[in-house]
């Protein structure tokens, strides 16, 4: 296993370099530049050229890339051009918000998804099952921003129970967490339900029933426990999305976070910030995928062999 882990980590190194090239190129391919977002009414073209030179924007792209890469390898993302702060500081300021929202949403998906999935499986093919799965299906097919807007309309405006936006108070987290969490919840509920039904058909379950173990105990202690294996895999794979998976929701709820920072910086072509954020997101996904694979490999040794 240790050998497998090491191999997987080493395999990420070339991917990382590949990602840095793509991130850098993609950002510079977007038309426009940050200078016009820096200057104010009255600036002469010569002054603009001076500013561009100050940030090295007049140099060839490969030199700019090289300078950025060497910085990144030293753990520094450089300085924002329009926002005029070290990119690391900006990310540090925002990442907490993203982690809280994404993490809580993941917990919400897991708890509510497993519960509803298990209930649906226990009463399979009844009205309970059908209505639960119907609601779950609805939750995964509506656009997140739309759901967010409707939740605001209902809970914040009509009822006045929760704040509309921002991140000042913990209550401001409830609506965004539900909005982000519902999509993942649908997937978890569906997987739990099917997995429990698969396990329920196995011989050992019949045996338990025959031995006179109460039905609820069979379902909760035995079936659910075994059925959770694919669910855990699924959840571990979603870890990577914690940071970047809620851009639209951050936008709708006017929450700070990496997504909001990225969208704003992209609009202003603040290259170092966009590069830094994209690289962070990519690294989160890479690490999340790695964790997911490791969880799976730990549970199913065949996986280790296959990837050889």
């Amino acid at each position: 296993m240790a050998d497998y882990v090491l191999r997987r980590i080493l395999a990420l190194i070339p991917v990382f370099f590949f990602v840095t090239v793509v991130v850098f190129m993609i950002v510079h391919l977007v038309p426009g530049d940050p200078i016009d977002n820096l200057v104010r009414i009255g600036v002469t073209p010569e002054q603009k050229a001076l500013i561009a030179a100050r940030y090295g924007l007049d140099q060839p792209l490969y030199l700019q890339y090289w300078r950025w890469l060497t910085l990144v390898l030293q753990g520094d993302f450089g300085s924002a051009i329009v926002l005029r702060r070290p990119v690391m500081d900006l990310i540090r300021e925002n990442i907490g918000y993203s982690l809280t929202l994404g993490g809580l949403a993941l917990c919400f998906s897991a708890l509510v998804g497993i519960t509803t999935g298990a209930i649906a499986a226990a009463w399979r093919n009844t009205l309970v099952d059908k209505s639960i799965m119907g609601v779950v299906l609805l939750g995964s097919t509506v656009p997140a921003f739309w759901l967010g807007l409707l939740l605001i309309l209902l809970f914040a405006v009509t009822l006045g129970w929760l704040p509309v936006s921002g991140a000042k108070h913990w209550t401001a987290l409830i609506l965004p967490v539900v909005t982000v969490g519902l999509g993942g919840m649908a997937l978890v509920a569906r997987v739990t339900r099917v997995s429990m039904m698969d396990i329920g058909r196995q011989d050992f379950v019949t045996l338990l029933h025959a031995k006179g173990v109460p039905a609820w105990a069979v379902q909760v202690r035995h079936v659910l426990r075994h059925a959770l294996i694919p669910v855990v895999t699924l959840l571990s794979l979603r870890i990577g999305l914690i940071v970047g998976g809620s851009v639209t929701v951050e936008y709708v709820f006017a929450r700070p976070g990496i997504g909001s920072l990225l969208i704003r910086a992209l609009g202003q072509r603040d290259y170092p910030v966009v590069q830094g954020c994209l690289l962070m997101l990519a690294m989160a996904v890479m690490i999340g995928t790695l964790l997911g694979d490791l969880v799976q490999a730990a549970m199913d040794p065949r996986q280790r062999e296959e990837s050889r």
């Binding site: 038309p31 426009g32 977002n37 009414i41 702060r85 405006v157 929760l162």
Partner: protein, 530 residues
């Protein structure tokens, strides 16, 4: 509230009750003399509170720092940290008498030495143009300074009154180095900085020693509100909801499209602010068919400013018939140059120019249809206006194909000269905006009209650098402004009203708003109700 909305809300309400969720209602009540304001949208994302280096001056800058001079809504100038000033007849010397007894938040005194240190700090920054005409600052005595000019600058007072010209504490500024404006910001203003997070919020605490308010404020002493939280909310609808639900106490600068909604909320009072900008349509004078003056004029006359104000904005704001905001004296030009809707003449001009009506109502010339690119940026307000302009151009047989870009992309397109018509806006209260958008030295961007006209250049230079006094500058800019409008490189559309909305049970806001925008003077006078 219409019948169907209440039905919808009822349905939503019963759905929630069915969920059986019970949460305690949130109380928005804040302690007595605290208030939460939402920044004007255009102030969002300011990177630093360093006035010398920032590219965006915000309400927070205005509150932390004082300026030498303040400007009023009618564009007149009033003393603040400078008690009086005078200039030599040739405009080469300016003498300022400074107010005595002013101290910075860190206890440092404010005097002539501060100014002599401060002005040279602008050299090499993006804001250096503000004092570029100043050659050096001489200390006459402890409270008198003299600016020796490189050349006359009839715009010096305007520049000194701008938000970038807030005076920072030399000691704090030098001590903090690059972090000045992010972690520390020290001025002489009515509020001290508690903390600042870019794009999120700024928390300000009242300066208890403040007793040098400008004459724009009724209250010359310390502000009434002890703690002021300034929030940045990008989504316009979210700001509205926050005010409606009591999450914030004031939204500075309400979008016109939402004004009627704000007005319908109980407890919410709205107040008109001086206007500060124009929506307009630049015409690319270098692109066919707009190289033809007749086509440009026809396009300009097709725009129905009155319809946009009355229908799209339901009477909020003013139609714009010149390129400058109406409070500027340079906007009072000979009415014959104003651009006004005239459908008949527009159609006649296109006929004369050889564009004949085709079968589907779109004009044609030499077999080519009159289809042009009509571009704008992604914000809701621009898209709304552009769609109406598109419909208005159809009435003269011009087919505008809308393209929506983000702000940076569209600038790139302008620089590559890919555009024909665009819908844009600017916010500025000085006639030199004409130079910025129409100077032949800045073709592409910001001269989106790609306008290059020898006579225009001559008049522009005369107005910008040839004027020695304020009166001369106004006269010269009027002539330039009239000539610009006669050549149709831009079509003025709309002068939006700027509006403040606040919770009247929480706040009392002064009757008359002084200053070109809602700024420190008015905030000092704002009270929190008991």
């Amino acid at each position: 509230m219409t019948h169907s909305t209440s039905r919808l809300k009822l349905a939503l309400l019963s759905a929630t009750l069915a969920c059986g969720v019970a949460l305690a209602p949130l109380s928005a009540a804040v302690a007595a003399s605290e208030a939460v304001f939402v920044f004007p949208n255009s102030h969002n994302g300011a990177p630093t509170l360093n006035p010398v280096k920032t590219t965006l001056d915000t309400l927070a800058h205005e509150l932390i720092y004082d300026r030498l001079i303040e400007q009023d809504a009618d564009q007149t100038y009033h003393p603040h940290l400078a008690e009086s000033w005078e200039s030599s007849p040739d405009g080469m010397l300016w003498t300022f008498k400074l107010r005595q007894g002013v101290t910075f938040h860190d206890g440092e005194p404010f005097n002539a030495k501060t100014i002599a240190w401060w002005i040279p700090k602008f050299a090499g920054t993006d804001n250096d143009y503000l004092v570029a005409a100043v050659d050096k600052v001489e200390i006459v005595d402890d409270y008198t300074v003299r600016f020796v000019m490189k050349h006359p600058d009839a715009n010096l007072l305007y520049n000194l009154a701008s938000g970038f010209m807030g005076v920072p504490s030399p000691k704090a500024y030098e001590a903090a180095g690059d972090t000045y404006g992010v972690t520390v910001a020290v001025g002489t203003g009515p509020y001290k900085l508690d903390h600042f997070t870019t794009g999120v919020e700024t928390l300000l605490i009242r300066n208890e020693d403040y007793k040098w308010g400008s004459e724009l404020a009724a209250n010359r002493g310390k502000a009434h509100i002890e703690k002021l939280l300034l929030r940045e909310i990008v989504d316009e609808a979210a700001s509205y909801l926050e005010l409606k639900t009591g999450g914030v106490d004031m939204v500075v600068d309400v979008p016109n499209a939402l004004l009627s909604q704000y007005k319908s909320v109980k407890d919410v009072e709205t107040k008109a602010l001086p206007s500060y900008g124009i929506f307009y349509m630049p015409i690319n004078t270098s692109a066919e068919p707009f190289t033809d003056l007749k086509v440009r004029k026809a396009t300009a006359l097709a725009v129905n400013q009155e319809e946009i104000v009355s229908r799209l904005y339901r009477g909020v704001g003013k139609p714009a018939h010149t390129f400058l905001i109406s409070s500027l004296p340079e906007s009072k030009i000979n009415p014959q140059f104003e651009i006004r809707h005239d459908l008949r003449q527009a159609n006649q001009l296109l006929d004369e120019a050889g564009w004949k009506k085709g079968p589907n109502g779109i004009r044609e010339k030499d077999g080519k249809p009159l289809t042009v690119k009509l571009w704008t940026q992604g914000d809701t307000e621009f898209k709304r206006m552009t769609e109406v302009i598109q419909a208005q151009l159809k009435a003269i047989g011009m087919n505008g194909e809308i393209g929506v870009f983000d702000v940076s992309s569209i600038r790139d397109q302008y620089k590559k000269n890919q555009h024909q018509l665009a819908v844009r806006s600017y916010g500025w209260n000085n006639a030199d905006i004409l130079d910025w958008f129409l100077s032949a030295e800045r073709q592409g961007y910001p001269n989106v009209s790609m306008w290059k006209d020898p006579k225009g250049e001559e008049l522009r230079k005369a107005a910008l650098t040839g004027s020695k006094t304020t009166e001369e500058r106004i006269a010269n800019f009027k002539i330039y402004h009239e000539y610009v409008l006669s050549q149709y490189p831009v079509v003025p559309i709309y002068e939006p009203d700027r509006t403040l909305a606040y919770n009247k049970t929480r706040l009392t806001v002064p009757e008359k708003i002084r200053g070109p925008k809602f700024t420190a003077a008015s905030i000092i006078d704002t009270k929190v109700n008991d």
